[in-house]
Symmetry: C2
Subunit: 197 residues, 2 copies
């Protein structure tokens, strides 16, 4: 643990001053890394990164309710979170993690609603590298995540509807007010109107 | 930010070796602090602590479903999380945060299920200090949290049904397998049986 901490502290020594804000460069332990075939090496400690939000049973069409519930948890690497708080923007080297778990009930003394399953059903990574966003999906049971083709639809939908820089900041309650204050929300999002209370 | 980091790194210099595991003492920035009248000073940066889990519409009795949805998000200070991973136990100076936000729908392009409100409806803190757990509730609009009387019921219910040391580890999917592997789950929890899949 001490070794890991020393490592992170070392990475923080490089300070990049941009747009008048002190923005840290993304240290090696948080920065995206790839295998020889272009897969993303899944970040091992994302559960110790910064939590953005959770949704339940989210869908982009108003389909029928089902009995099976699904939680989406999202996380981001810490340095990029702090840079967003300062600037309302995602810096290069940002990784946003989507973790999918089942909703369960009843569990122990909880009799209503849903709590989260120990089992992880899927992990996806949205990575900004050299100014460009890409999506990767974990190959379950391995440590690597395959690049999703642009035609998979994630990219087009995020680019069209993401509140900030192709990302769904409209669903991240600690970041949406920052983006509004910094004036970094997209025109498309402002036109679509419906915002979180 | 650099100042804060230096501060955290300084706190980590003190290493306590207990039960054969290297357990870090809780650094000042994470340790519980109190006002003169015994209120807890609410931790300012708990959203950058380690996320434990979220539930939605949780209740300990099977009452009717309502139209108003409620998310419970839980966080813990990072050093105590890492110590739990190593030992299956909560060390002194641990703070578990419960943050309550509304569930909203539809929001932006999400048409189904619920996403989380920008507005925080409540914050509670479960603090282990000098071997004893206490509950505090944030006085909204302030930075301090009032001690909840033991008679409020939280304490009795957590002591009776908490899977580990008066805490609901049964709802924390990354920690329950650790507690099972380390043999630190309570007998009461094992008797109550129903566990997360």
């Amino acid at each position: 643990m001490l070794k890991r901490l020393g490592f992170v502290a070392g990475g923080l020594m490089v300070v990049v001053v941009a747009l008048g804000h002190a923005v840290m460069s993304v240290p090696k332990g948080e920065a995206p890394a790839y295998t020889a075939d272009g897969s993303l090496m899944a970040p091992a400690h994302y559960r110790e990164w910064v939590y953005l939000s959770s949704g339940i049973d989210m869908a982009y069409t108003a389909s029928q309710e089902t009995e099976h519930h699904v939680f989406d948890n999202t996380f981001v690497n810490p340095i990029s979170y702090r840079a967003f708080l300062a600037t309302g923007r995602w810096q290069d080297g940002t990784t946003i993690v989507l973790e999918v778990r089942g909703g369960e009930s009843p569990v122990s003394i909880n009799k209503r609603g849903s709590t989260q399953s120990v089992k992880v059903d899927a992990e996806e990574f949205h990575v900004k590298d050299k100014g460009k966003w890409s999506f990767y999906r974990l190959v379950m049971g391995t440590n690597s995540a395959k690049l999703l083709p642009v035609g998979a639809g994630c990219q087009a939908c995020h680019a069209a509807h993401g509140a900030v820089d192709e990302t769904f900041v409209q669903f991240y309650p600690t970041l949406l007010p920052v983006a509004k204050a910094k004036g970094t929300v997209s025109e498309m999002y402002l036109k679509e109107g419906q915002t979180s209370k």
